[in-house]
C-alpha cells in the first residue's frame, strides 16, 4: 500500500476558528482524514517542534497555515514548515491578508503592548515552573503569510467555509492541482450568487446592521447597509447576505476590484445620492457619507496588513 500523503495544519496569530472550521465538513472530514496522515497539527496532535525539525525536507505534502504572523516564533515556524513542505496553503483570512488581528497595525507596537499587557503581564509559568523562557517577541507589525514565505494556494474566509475547504481537498487528494497562487473561491463578485434583488442602485442612507431589520428580498446596499459584496469574491454561498447581514469581505477582494477599500469608495461614490445631484446636494451628500464612520475598519477588516502601509511605518 502506498504511503498516505502527510499533511500539517499550523496556527500562528489566530483565534482557533480556522482549526474548528474543518469540523464543518461534517462526515466528509472522515473521508479526508482516512486518506492522509497528520504529520503535525497542534490543535489535535502533540508533536514537538524538535520532531518537526527532524522531518526530511519536503516530506509534508501540504501544510495549511492559519493565523496572522504576529511573533518572531510565528515567523520561525512558518519558515521551518515551508522547508519541510511541498505545498503551503494560506488557510483563512489572517494567513491570506492579515485578518482581523491585522487591524492592530493601526497602533504602534509599544502602544499595543502598553494597552494590552500594561506593565505587570507575564505568562503563567509552565507546570513545574522551572524555565525562565521569555515569551516570543512581538513583530513590529502583523503580517500576512506571503510577506514571509512563498504561498502556493489560498483558502480564504473567516473562517473558510466548507465548500471552499472542499475545493482544496478535492485538488490535493486528486492531484489535479491548479496553478500556483490559486485562490480557492470564485473570481466573480459575491453579488453574482446573492439571491437578493437590486432595484434602486442608489445609496440614499447609510445604516449599521443593528439599526435595521432588512427586507429579506432587496439588496442590502439598496437598503443602506454597507455590503462589500460588489468587491468581494463569491464562493461562500452568500451566507451573510442571506441571513440579513452585509458582507464584510472575509473571502477577500475579486481580482478585478484589487484594493477593496478603494474599490468600495469608487462604488459608493457612484451610488450615493441625496436628492438631485448638484451643488445644492453637496452638504447632504457629505452628511450621508459621514454616516460611514470607519471606512478603514469597514473596508479592510480582514486585509489591513496587505493594503495599508502607514506613513513612516509602524516601528
Amino acid at each position: 500500500m502506498a504511503a498516505k500523503p502527510k499533511i500539517a495544519v499550523y496556527w500562528t496569530g489566530g483565534c482557533g476558528g480556522c482549526d474548528v472550521s474543518f469540523l464543518e465538513l461534517g462526515p466528509a472530514l472522515l473521508d479526508v482524514l482516512a486518506q492522509v496522515e497528520i504529520a503535525f497539527w497542534p490543535a489535535l496532535v502533540d508533536t514537538k517542534r524538535s520532531e518537526v525539525e527532524a522531518f526530511p525536507p519536503r516530506s509534508i505534502a501540504a501544510t495549511l497555515v492559519n493565523g496572522t504572523l504576529r511573533t518572531e516564533e510565528n515567523v520561525e515556524m512558518v519558515h521551518l514548515l515551508r522547508e519541510k513542505s511541498q505545498l503551503v496553503v494560506a488557510f483563512g483570512a489572517c494567513a491570506y491578508q492579515g485578518g482581523v488581528p491585522g487591524l492592530a497595525n493601526l497602533s504602534p507596537r509599544d502602544q499595543l503592548l502598553r494597552r494590552v499587557a500594561r506593565n505587570g503581564f507575564r505568562p503563567a509559568p509552565p507546570p513545574g515552573g522551572e524555565t525562565e523562557d521569555a515569551p516570543p517577541e512581538l513583530l513590529p507589525e502583523a503580517k500576512a503569510l506571503a510577506d514571509e514565505i512563498t504561498v502556493d494556494y489560498v483558502v480564504p474566509g473567516c473562517p473558510p467555509m466548507p465548500p471552499l475547504i472542499g475545493l482544496l481537498f478535492d485538488a490535493l487528494l486528486s492531484g489535479d492541482l491548479p496553478a500556483p497562487g490559486h485562490v480557492f473561491a470564485h473570481d466573480k463578485a459575491l453579488c453574482e450568487e446573492c439571491p437578493r434583488t437590486r432595484e434602486e442602485r442608489r445609496l440614499t442612507k447609510v445604516v449599521r446592521p443593528h439599526e435595521l431589520i432588512p427586507d429579506p428580498e432587496v439588496c442590502l446596499l439598496d437598503q443602506g447597509m454597507i455590503c462589500l459584496g460588489p468587491v468581494t469574491r463569491g464562493g461562500c454561498g452568500a451566507a451573510c447576505p442571506k441571513a440579513g447581514m452585509p458582507c464584510t469581505g472575509c473571502v477577500g477582494p475579486t481580482p478585478e476590484a484589487g484594493d477593496p477599500g478603494l474599490a468600495m469608495i469608487s462604488a459608493l461614490g457612484s451610488l450615493a445620492r441625496a436628492g438631485e445631484e448638484g451643488p445644492g446636494a453637496f452638504a447632504a451628500e457629505d452628511k450621508l457619507l459621514d454616516a460611514l464612520v470607519d471606512p478603514l475598519g469597514t473596508f479592510y477588516k480582514y486585509s489591513l496588513p496587505t493594503y495599508v502601509r502607514r506613513k513612516g511605518g509602524n516601528g
Binding site: L106, G258, D259, G261, L262, A263, I265, S266, L268, G269, S270, A272, E277, G278, P279, F282, E285, D286, L289, L292, D294, P295, L296, G297, F299, V308, R309, R310, K311, G312, G313
Partner: protein
C-alpha cells in the same frame, strides 16, 4: 553641500474639457506658477479612480490635484459630482491611515480660468511644502528629488 529645499511632487489629473484647457491657458498666457506638477489629462474628472490617487502617492507624489469642470459644466453631466463624493470618502480614509487629507485637492477650473489654475497650483505647492514629504512606502526606487516639468496632455 547644503541640502536642496523640499520641492513637493504633484500629480495633477485634469479633465480635458475644463481644467486641462484652463491649465493650457495658464501656459499660453505665460502665467507663472510652480513647476511641481506632472499633469495627466483625463476625459473627465469622473474617470479618476481612488486607486490612481493612491498609486500616485505610492509612486512618490506628495500631493494629488484633481481638476474638473464647475458644477453643471461637466461634459458628461455628472462625472464631477461622482468624483466629489469619491474624494470626500477617500479623504476620510486617508485621515484614518495617517495621511493628511489636504494632500488630495479637488478643484473646479473652467477653460477660461488660467489664472485660477495658476493660483491653485501656487497655493497647493505652498501647503505641501508646509506638510513636508509624504514618505509613503515606495513600490519603486525613489525618483530623483528634482522637480518635474509640467506637461499637459499630448
Amino acid at each position: 553641500m547644503a541640502e536642496a529645499p523640499f520641492e513637493p511632487r504633484v500629480v495633477a489629473f485634469l479633465c480635458r474639457w475644463c481644467a486641462g484647457a484652463g491649465a493650457d491657458l495658464a501656459g499660453t498666457s505665460r502665467l507663472h506658477y510652480p513647476p511641481n506638477a506632472v499633469a495627466i489629462r483625463v476625459n473627465c474628472s469622473g474617470r479618476v479612480e481612488p486607486e490612481w490617487v493612491m498609486e500616485a502617492f505610492r509612486s512618490g507624489a506628495d500631493g494629488v490635484l484633481i481638476g474638473g469642470c464647475h458644477p453643471g459644466d461637466c461634459h458628461y453631466v455628472s462625472g464631477n459630482y461622482k468624483t466629489r463624493r469619491r474624494i470626500y470618502l477617500l479623504k476620510k480614509l486617508l485621515a484614518e491611515i495617517g495621511i493628511e487629507p489636504e494632500r488630495v485637492r479637488l478643484e473646479w477650473v473652467s477653460a477660461t480660468e488660467g489664472a485660477k489654475f495658476a493660483r491653485v497650483m501656487k497655493e497647493f505647492v505652498t501647503e505641501l511644502k508646509q506638510l513636508g514629504p509624504l514618505n509613503l512606502e515606495r513600490e519603486e526606487e525613489k525618483p530623483s528629488a528634482a522637480p518635474v516639468l509640467p506637461q499637459v496632455g499630448s
